[in-house]
Amino acid sequence: MNIWRLVAKEIAYRKLNFGLAVLAVLVAVACLVGELTLLRAHEIRAERLSSAQDARTRHMVDRLTDDYRVITKQLGYNVLVLPARQDLGRFYAQGYATETMPEEYARRLAESRLVTVQHLLPSLQEKLEWPEHKFPIVLMGTRGEVPQGRRDPKEALQPPVAKGTMIVGAVLKERLGLDVGSRATLLGRTFTVAKVHPPRGTEDDVTVWIDLAEAQALRGQAGRINAILALSCICGEATPEGIRREVTRALDNDVQVLELAPQAATRRAARIRADEHAKEAVASQEAGHEELRLVREALASWIIPLVVVGCVVWVGVLALGNARERRGEVGILRAIGLRSRQILAVFLTKAVLVGLAGGAVGYAIGFGVAAAWDGREAAGGDVVGLAALFSAGLLAGAVILAPLLTAVASLVPAVLAARQDPAVVLREE
């Protein structure tokens, strides 16, 4: 005969009392474990989502960076090469260069070691009045792209205009009745209209494109051009200054170079903005998760103490009832020689067993319910998984703290039972 046997027999005898006490602990532990496990699941999922979002953002930014690198490489900078003597004030005021330079510059540029220029378009441009029609036009003599010998041929941005033909803008079609196939005389020479451009809302609408050599002949500028449009310039020094320096050096400093559009800079700014947007999205998502976590923590911060206090009170009441019920039993045990600390041990051992059983079963139920709940929340998506949810610390806490809690709750009834006077009990009974 020993204390354990006595406790075990008493538990078996008063199953309801034991069961109700275990139930109280079980509910408290299940609530605690369930809530903490859900919080853990939430944190793990938030972390995973954040990591995934980070990875997606990084991937997106990397892709964007690469895209812009490619775009920048493909587009590069567009520059206009003008004669060095050209007064830029007049150029901007008149819309074309009044000075000329040798057409050969285009060839030299194409054959230079400048591998950065993708398209070279030499032209002779002039604003004049179409004498036969008394109508102001822009005359554009062009030979299309200058072939660049050592390089892979690029798709032509501007095809050449065949000799004896012209291409006209939409306003000229409308105002002068020019259409594809019609013939028109310009500066005494007859051309067939090969193409009419649709309206562009620019100077192009009043432009006449003809072959460069024919334009040079008409304007008495044989072998001369007044601009080279260099498109998609990409060089080792991917800056407008670098390109300007390279082109100028290639043409013996006899030209000046104007940057037409700072696309690369614009796109770099766009890329930075896209990056910022992505980061803002991640931050916003993380803030949302943090807010939800705080709500859950706030909920747990009052539910858990409430349940724990309720459990302590309930276990204490049950222990008190048990002590009162066992008054006669305790009286005789004390009479036959059991010491008060042995009586205390009987009650506290039972309380610890209540805590152990409630803690273990409560953990299992709380964990199971939380895992199922998490699975339902994830709806087949990002389920955190039992292994990730399991916390040895929480399990240890449940099976250590629950018995401590029940022992504390049962302490007062146990002390009252242990200290009761056997003589009083025996006389009263």
Binding site: N2, I3, A12, G328, L333, A335, I336, G337, R339, P422
Partner: protein, 218 residues
Amino acid sequence: MLRVENLTKHYRGAGKNVRALDAVSLAVGPGEFVAVQGPSGCGKTTLLLAAGGLLRPDAGRVAIAGEDPYAFSPEARARFRASRVGFVFQQFHLVPYLTVLDNILAPSLASPSANAPARARELMAHVGLADRAAHVPAELSTGERQRVALARALLNCPGLLLADEPTGNLDPASAKVVLGHLAEFAAAGGAVLLVTHDPLAAEYAGRAVKMACGRLVD
């Protein structure tokens, strides 16, 4: 074995002061079976509890085997009781969820002994309950319950047996069996102090004293 001298005990309640024992002196030697008779409320149970080290008297002295149990600390007094005194009560006070064997073994919780199980089986056989070892009190008759209580009181081989109305709830046949065991214990050298108002019980005692209003009157 037992000597009480000038035991006095008052019960003080709200506006009441009951003198339960008034300078009671009594001695029970080894092999002696003493019955204290008297009406209900005369102080018999108080005398028995005080003599057994369960109820400290207001005045007077108790000596069991020459030692005053009230000179000990409560824990030491409990150990002393477990080894020297056996109790039998009218209400049996068996632990309801323990079997007959476990109930008889209950004193071994206070005073563990390796041969306690063998001694318990021996006592069970002696009181005629060998075949009821696995039964719980609810499955026993009142006479059988009292015999279990008697066996429990004898487990640690005490020198003194204190019995408080042990036959009060028994039929005459069962009462005779229990009283026979008490007499047998005394005959074997033990000291028995029996308090009762049952005239039959007194017949088994070697000496009977009467008590009234907290005093021995004979």
